[in-house]
C-alpha cells in the first residue's frame, strides 16, 4: 500500500490565496505562488489547488502552470472541471489529477475512462448528512456513484467543519468507509490539530487534507506525517 498522504489545500479567488469558513466567509492569506513555494520547501506529499471562480476561465490554465512549476510534487487541481476537455487542459497545464464535483458525474465518468481512474478525484461535499446543494441525496448515493464512475479517489468534505478547526467529521468518514470498504477516501474539513488527523485515519480515511491548520497554527504537514508514522501508518520519512 502507498504511504498515507497529508495534503494541504490551497484556495484561490482570482487575486490571492484565501481561506474559507464553512465554504463561505473568505480571508485573504497571501500570494498564491508563495504558498506553492512554502509547501514545496516543506516537502509535501501532494498539494490540492482549488480555483474558486465560477467557470473554467481562460487564465486558469496559466494559473495551474505557474503553480505547478513551483512544485516538484503531485498537484491535484479542482475548480469548474465540467468535461473531459477541461480535465485534459488542466493536466496538460501541469496538474497530475483533477477534482470533479459529484454534481458532474458524467464528466467524472468520462474523464476516468479517457484519462484513467488515477486522474480523477471525486469531490463529495456534505452539509451535515445530506449533499450540499442537492439535499435529497445522502452519502451512500454519492459513494455508489463514485464507484460506478470508477474514479480513483474521493475527496470527502464536511462543509460545516470547513475552516473551524474543530476536527474532521469522524462519523461521516466511518460511514463512508462502511459503505465502501475498498475506496480511497481523502478526509477534508475541520483539521485543527495533529490528533484530528490521527482520528480521521482511525475512522477509516486513506489520506487527510487540511488548510487552516497549516495557515493559522505552527503545525506543518510533516508534523502530522510524523505523528501518523508513530501511530503505525506508513508515511514518507
Amino acid at each position: 500500500m502507498p504511504a498515507v498522504r497529508v495534503i494541504p489545500v490551497v484556495l484561490y479567488d482570482g487575486l490571492n490565496a484565501v481561506k474559507t469558513i464553512r465554504y463561505d466567509t473568505r480571508r485573504n492569506v497571501g500570494s498564491l505562488l508563495n504558498q506553492a513555494r512554502v509547501y514545496a520547501a516543506r516537502d509535501v506529499d501532494e498539494l490540492v489547488l482549488i480555483d474558486l471562480r465560477p467557470g473554467f476561465a481562460s487564465d486558469r490554465v496559466d494559473i495551474i502552470s505557474r503553480f505547478a512549476d513551483e512544485l516538484p510534487a503531485p498537484l491535484t487541481y479542482g475548480g469548474s472541471i465540467r468535461s473531459v476537455t477541461d480535465a485534459y487542459r488542466a493536466l496538460k497545464a501541469g496538474a497530475d489529477r483533477v477534482i470533479i464535483s459529484s454534481s458532474y458525474w458524467q464528466a467524472a465518468r468520462e474523464t476516468a475512462l479517457e484519462l484513467g481512474s488515477q486522474a480523477v478525484v471525486y469531490a463529495i461535499d456534505m452539509n451535515g448528512s445530506v449533499q450540499r446543494r442537492s439535499e435529497h441525496r445522502n452519502l451512500a448515493d454519492c459513494l455508489h456513484e463514485a464507484v460506478e464512475a470508477e474514479v480513483g479517489e474521493v475527496l470527502l468534505t464536511q462543509t460545516q467543519n470547513d475552516g473551524v478547526r474543530t476536527g474532521y467529521d469522524v462519523n461521516l468518514i466511518a460511514a463512508a468507509r462502511a459503505v465502501c470498504p475498498n475506496l480511497s477516501i481523502i478526509a477534508n474539513g475541520g483539521c485543527g490539530s495533529i490528533e484530528h488527523a490521527v482520528n480521521a485515519m482511525k475512522a477509516g480515511a486513506s489520506a487527510v487534507a487540511a488548510s487552516s491548520v497549516f495557515l493559522y497554527t505552527e503545525i506543518t504537514p510533516r508534523d502530522i506525517r510524523n505523528a501518523l508514522g508513530k501511530a503505525g501508518y506508513e508515511v514518507r520519512p
Binding site: P2, A3, D69, P72, P74, G116, S117, Q118, N182
Partner: protein
C-alpha cells in the same frame, strides 16, 4: 548537454520544469532527425500505451540509431511501459520491445508514494542515501515482477504492491543505456530530482 523530451501527449511540462530546476536544457521534439542525434532522450508518461506508441512507432528507427550512437533513453511511467513488448491496456499494439514481457492491468490503480526497493547488488545508489525511498506513482497498468529467476529484463528496483513483504511490481529497469522508471521522478521531490540529475550526467540511473 541537451535533453530531448518526446511529446507523447501527456504532461511533458513537469519533466521540462524538473530539468530546468537542475539547470539542464531540455527541448521537446517529435522529430526523427532531432532524436537520431540526441544524447539523452526522455519518454514522459501520463498517457495510455496506445497514445504513446502512436507517437513512438514512426520514431523506432531514430531511437535505435541514437542508442547505437551512445545515447541514453529514459522512460517514465507509460514511457517505461512502452519499452516492453506490449500492454493489456492497448491489445494488438506493439511496444518498442527493448525489454521482454507484457504490461498488465492492476486490480486497482496505484496512486501515491510507495517505498521503492533498489536491489541490493546495485552499487552507486549512495546518492539516494538509503536503499529504500518513497517515490510518487500514478498508474493503472504495470510490469509485474516475477522474481529474480524469471527476470530477463534487468529489474533494478521493485515495490511490494499488493503484498506486504514480497516484491511483485517492477519500479525501475535498466539495460545498458536504456532505463525506465514506473514512478515519476519529476514529481518525487528532492529524491526524484537527484535521480534525474544522476541520469542526465551518467546516462544511467544505477551503476552497471
Amino acid at each position: 548537454m541537451i535533453v530531448h523530451v518526446v511529446d507523447l501527449g501527456g504532461n511533458t511540462r513537469s519533466v521540462i520544469t524538473a530539468l530546468s530546476r537542475l539547470g539542464v536544457r531540455a527541448e521537446v521534439t517529435n522529430t526523427g532527425a532531432d532524436i537520431e542525434t540526441a544524447e539523452r532522450i526522455i519518454l514522459p508518461g501520463q498517457v495510455t500505451f496506445a497514445t504513446a506508441m502512436r507517437v513512438l512507432d514512426p520514431l523506432r528507427g531514430a531511437i535505435a540509431s541514437a542508442l547505437t550512437g551512445g545515447a541514453a533513453l529514459l522512460g517514465i511511467c507509460a514511457g517505461m511501459q512502452a519499452l516492453f513488448e506490449d500492454s493489456e491496456e492497448s491489445p494488438g499494439i506493439l511496444g518498442l520491445g527493448f525489454l521482454a514481457g507484457r504490461v498488465t492491468k492492476l486490480p486497482v490503480p496505484h496512486f501515491g508514494w510507495s517505498e521503492v526497493h533498489f536491489r541490493a547488488f546495485v552499487a552507486g545508489m549512495e546518492y539516494i542515501a538509503r536503499p529504500m525511498r518513497h517515490f510518487y506513482f500514478a498508474h493503472g497498468y504495470a510490469k509485474r515482477y516475477e522474481g529474480a529467476d524469471h527476470d530477463g529484463i534487468e529489474t533494478v528496483a521493485t515495490i511490494n504492491y499488493d503484498t506486504g513483504t514480497s516484491p511483485n511490481m517492477v519500479a525501475a529497469v535498466q539495460r545498458k543505456r536504456i532505463s525506465g522508471v514506473q514512478f515519476h521522478p519529476e514529481k518525487s521531490q528532492a529524491e526524484g530530482l537527484k535521480l534525474l540529475d544522476r541520469w542526465v550526467r551518467d546516462g544511467v540511473i544505477v551503476n552497471e
